[in-house]
C-alpha cells in the first residue's frame, strides 16, 4: 500500500553508469555562472583601499546597532514566514476544509504586492496620523495612540509579503510527497501529529529552507520597506556610505561583507542538513486529503482567511480607495505601454532565468563536485544584495563589455556606441543575475527529490542525455519549474532599481511609475500603478497555481 514513495536517506552515489559526456553542458554552465558572478566580483573587488574613515565612523556611531537591528529583523521575519508559510501550505495541500480550494490559490496572491507598496499602505493606514488611530483617539482619547513604525511593524510587513515564498515551495513539496510517507508512519504506530514532525516536515525541509532562504535574502537586500519605517539595517549603512559619504568603494566593501554573511548562513544550513537526502520515486502519488471537521475545520478556515485578509484584502482595498479618490486621473494611453513593458519583460526574464537555473541545477547534480557546488552557490548570491548596489555592479560589468565593443567598433570604422548598457538584452541579463536564486531554489529542490536510479535506469535502457531530460526530468519537475517561472515573473515585475538603471530609453514599467511617485512622497498617486501591478500579477499567479495542481 505505501509502496509508491519511500523515505530513505541515501548517500551521494558515484556517477558511474550515467552518460559520461563532459563537453557542452559543463562549458555552458561555467560560462553562465561566471557571467552571473561578474557583477558580484565587480563589487567584491573593491577592497584595494580599505575606506578606514567611513568604517571607523560607522563603527563608532552605529555599526553595532545596525547588526543588532538586522539580526532581529532576520530572526523575526524568518520565524514569521516559516510559521505562516508552512502552516498554510500544510493545510491547503494535505487537508480538506471549507474554502480550501479558494485559499489554495488566494494565499499565493500577496506575492503580487511589492513590499514597498505594502509598507506605505500599512504605514498610511495604521500610523499615528492614519484613519485607524484617528478613530481610536476619537473613542479612547490620545492615550490610545502609538507609533506604528517600530520593529514589530517592519517584521509584520515583511512577513506578510515574503511568506508566499515559503508557502509556494512547501506546498509543492507537500503535494509531491503525497500521503504515503505519512501513512507509513501511521502504520508504524505514530499519531498524525508525530508523523507530521517525523516524516512530512523533514521531507519538505529542503523546500522550506529554500523558501526561507529566498525570504531572508530579500529581507537583507531590502531598502525600500525599511526606509518607509526608517528602520536602520546593515543595508542602510551601504546606502549611507554611497549617498551620504559619496564613497562607492566603502559601499561595495560593506556589500561584500553582507554577501559573506549570507554565504556563511547558507553553508551552515547545508552542514546542518548533513548528507541525508529524500527522494520521491514516482512523479506524484495520488493524494487524498485528510478531511477536517467541526472546530478544526473552522479554525483552519479562519487562519487562512485572517492571513489572506491582512496580507491581501486590506492593502488591495486601500489601493482601490486611493485610486477612486483621485489617482485615476493619471490614467492615460501610456498605461497600456507600461503594462506591456512590465509583462513582456517579466515573461522573457522568467523563461530565460528558469532555463538558466535548470541548466545550473542539472549541472550541479550531474557532477556533484566541490567546484560545481561552489560555482552554483556563488552565482545565486545576487539575490541578497540591495537592488541598486547590484544594479550598479551589473552596469559596470556590462560597461566593460562595451569597452571591448567600442574597440571593435573603432577597428571596423563604425561610430562608437554603447551596445550593452541601455539595451533590452542587458536588462534581461540583469534580471537573470538578480533572480537566478529565486528560480534556482524551486528547481533544485524538486530536482533533488528525483531518485538517481531513475535517470540511471533510463541510461541503461539506452536513453541519450537530452532524451532523459525531456522524458524524465522535465515531466517530474513540472510543479517546481512552474513555481520558479511564477516567482521570477512576479519578482521581475516588482523589481525597481535594476529596471530604473538599465532600462532602454522609453521602456518604463509599472514599477518605474511607482518609483516616480513614491520618490516624491506622492503615495496616493502611486496607488494607480501599484494597483495595476497587483492586478497584472494576479492572472499568472492564478493560472500557474491551477496548472501546478495537475
Amino acid at each position: 500500500m505505501a509502496s509508491g514513495a519511500v523515505l530513505h536517506p541515501v548517500w551521494p552515489q558515484s556517477q558511474t553508469g550515467v552518460i559520461r559526456r563532459v563537453g557542452l553542458l559543463r562549458v555552458c554552465a561555467v560560462v553562465l555562472a561566471l557571467m552571473v558572478m561578474a557583477p558580484l566580483l565587480v563589487i567584491a573587488l573593491n577592497w584595494g583601499e580599505i575606506q578606514t574613515d567611513v568604517w571607523r565612523h560607522l563603527a563608532q556611531t552605529q555599526l553595532l546597532r545596525l547588526f543588532r537591528n538586522t539580526a532581529v529583523l532576520v530572526l523575526g521575519v524568518g520565524a514569521g514566514v516559516t510559521v505562516l508559510g508552512v502552516s498554510l501550505a500544510w493545510l491547503t495541500a494535505t487537508c480538506r476544509f471549507p474554502g480550501r480550494k479558494f485559499f489554495d490559490v488566494a494565499l499565493m496572491l500577496p506575492l503580487a504586492i511589492p513590499a514597498y507598496v505594502m509598507a506605505f499602505v500599512m504605514v498610511g493606514l495604521l500610523d499615528w496620523a492614519g484613519p485607524v488611530q484617528g478613530q481610536l483617539r476619537e473613542w479612547f482619547g490620545r492615550g490610545a495612540s502609538f507609533s506604528f513604525r517600530g520593529t514589530g511593524a517592519v517584521i509584520m510587513v515583511l512577513t506578510l509579503v515574503l511568506y508566499p515564498y515559503v508557502y509556494m515551495l512547501a506546498r509543492s513539496a507537500f503535494l509531491a510527497q503525497g500521503r504515503e510517507p505519512l501513512e507509513a508512519a501511521r502504520v508504524l504506530g505514530h499519531s498524525p501529529w508525530r508523523g507530521f514532525w517525523l516524516v512530512t516536515l523533514p521531507m519538505a525541509r529542503p523546500a522550506i529552507v529554500a523558501g526561507l532562504a529566498l525570504a531572508l535574502m530579500e529581507t537583507l537586500a531590502d531598502f525600500g520597506t525599511v526606509s518607509v519605517f526608517n528602520y536602520d539595517t546593515f543595508t542602510t549603512a551601504i546606502y549611507k556610505a554611497w549617498y551620504g559619504f559619496f564613497n562607492v568603494q566603502a559601499a561595495a566593501q560593506l556589500a561584500s561583507l553582507l554577501l559573506l554573511i549570507v554565504l556563511a548562513g547558507l553553508y551552515l544550513e547545508r552542514k546542518g542538513r548533513g548528507d541525508a537526502r529524500y527522494f520521491q520515486t514516482r512523479r506524484r502519488a495520488a493524494s487524498r486529503r485528510t478531511a477536517l471537521h467541526g472546530g478544526k475545520a473552522l479554525l483552519a478556515s479562519l487562519w487562512c482567511g485572517l492571513i489572506f485578509a491582512v496580507a491581501f484584502v486590506v492593502p488591495l482595498g486601500q489601493l482601490v480607495i486611493w485610486v477612486i479618490q483621485g489617482a485615476w486621473k493619471d490614467l492615460d494611453a501610456r498605461y497600456l505601454a507600461l503594462v506591456w513593458h512590465t509583462l513582456s519583460l517579466g515573461a522573457a526574464a522568467a523563461v530565460l532565468t528558469v532555463a538558466a537555473a535548470f541548466l545550473l541545477a542539472y549541472f550541479k547534480r550531474r557532477y556533484q563536485d566541490r567546484l560545481s557546488d561552489l560555482l552554483v552557490r556563488t552565482a545565486t548570491l545576487g539575490y541578497a544584495l540591495p537592488g541598486s548596489v547590484l544594479a550598479v555592479g551589473i552596469m559596470i560589468s556590462f560597461n566593460h563589455l562595451d569597452d571591448w565593443a567600442a574597440a571593435l567598433q573603432t577597428q571596423l570604422g563604425l561610430t562608437v556606441q554603447p551596445i550593452f548598457v541601455g539595451g533590452v538584452a542587458a536588462l534581461l541579463l540583469a534580471y537573470l543575475t538578480r533572480f537566478l536564486a529565486a528560480a534556482f531554489g524551486p528547481v533544485e529542490t524538486s530536482l533533488e527529490r528525483i531518485k538517481p536510479s531513475i535517470p540511471e535506469a533510463a541510461a541503461i535502457l539506452g536513453a541519450r542525455q537530452w532524451e532523459t531530460v525531456r522524458r524524465i526530468y522535465l515531466p517530474m519537475l513540472g510543479p517546481g519549474l512552474l513555481t520558479a517561472l511564477l516567482l521570477v515573473f512576479v519578482d521581475v515585475m516588482k523589481e525597481m532599481p535594476a529596471t530604473l538603471l538599465m532600462r532602454p530609453f522609453g521602456w518604463d514599467t509599472l514599477a518605474v511609475r511607482i518609483y516616480e511617485m513614491t520618490n516624491e512622497g506622492m503615495w496616493q498617486r502611486a496607488a494607480l500603478p501599484g494597483l495595476t501591478l497587483v492586478l497584472v500579477g494576479l492572472l499568472p499567479v492564478a493560472i500557474l497555481v491551477r496548472r501546478s495542481d495537475h
Binding site: H57, W128, A129, Y243, P418, V424, F505
Partner: protein, 337 residues
Amino acid sequence: MAGNFSRWMWRGALGVVMAFGGAVQAASEIVVYSARNEQLIKPIFDLYTKQTGTKITYVTDAEGPLIARLEAEGARTPADLMITVDAGNLWLAAEKGLFRPIKSNVLESTVPAQYQDPQNRWFGLSVRARTIVYSKERVKPEQLSTYEDLADKKWDGRLCLRTSKKVYNQSLVATMIERHGEAKTEQIVKGWVDNLATDVFANDTALIEAIVAGQCDVGIVNTYYFGRLEYEKGKLPAKLFWPNQATTGVHVNVSGAGVTAHAKHPKEAQAFLEWLSRGEAQRAFAGINMEYPVNVKTEWDPIVQAWGKFKADDLNVEAAGRRQIEAVKLMDRAGYL
C-alpha cells in the same frame, strides 16, 4: 578578399546586436538623464519639442545610480544633459568631472550667482525652500524664530523631523556648519533630537500629516510638500513660517542641470538649458511643482505667492555639497537617525 568579407560579417552581426541593444540616435536630439521625476519634466520637454523640433530622449532614476552610470560610461555616454535635485548632487557630479564648464551670457543673467557653480559647470533651475511648518491650533507664530531655536527646551516633545538620510536635511545642516562651525551646529542638532515628539519620518508629507493629526506641533519641510498636501486635502490646520529673517535667511536649495563632459550635442544641450532658465519654460519648470523660479524676473505660481515673500540664505548652494560628509557624520554623532 577574405579579410574584407569577415569585416562585413562583423558589421552585419554588430548591426543586428545594435538593433536589439543600445539606442541609436538621430542628430537633432538631446539625451537627458534626470533625477527629477518624469511627471515634473515631461510636460516641459514636450513643450520644447513642440517649439523647436528638437527631440528629447530621457531616462529617470535616483541621482546616485545616475551619477554612477555617467561615471562608468565615460566618453561613451549618450547623455548630453543631467538634471538633478539638490546642490549636493550637482556638486558631486561636478567634482567627478562629469559636467563641462559653460560660457553663456544668457545663463549668467538669468541664474543668480548663488545658485550656480562658481566654475560654471552647473546651473540651478528652480529654488526649493526648506522652512518651518507649525500647527495653527497649538503654536502662535510669535513663538517661532529660527531653525536654531527649535533646539530650545520649550519645544520638548513637540518637534517632528524627517530622517537625516534625506539629502535635504543634510544640506540644511551643511549650511549651518558653514555658518556656525561644527561644535555649535552639533549642539543645535542634539537639541533637535532631544525635542523630538516621535521617531523621525520617512518623508515630508507624513511629517505634515502628523502635525495635522496632533502628534507634534512644529517641523521642518520643503514648501512644495505643504502646497501639494493642501492642494489635495484643502485648507490644513497648519501653516508655513519663514525663519531666520533677522539673521541668515531661509535655507534654500536648487534643482538644476549641467551639460555632460562627453555630450554628443553640447550646443543643443546648452540651448535647451538656456531656454529652461527664462520665459514660459522657467515659469513651468518651477510652477509645476510649486517651487520658486530661479530667474528673478519670472513670476511665481499663485499658490506659492500666497505663502508670502521671504529673505533667502545668500550662501552659494554648493556649500551643501562641500560640507555634506561633515554634516552626515555630525548628525550620526548627535543621534539624529
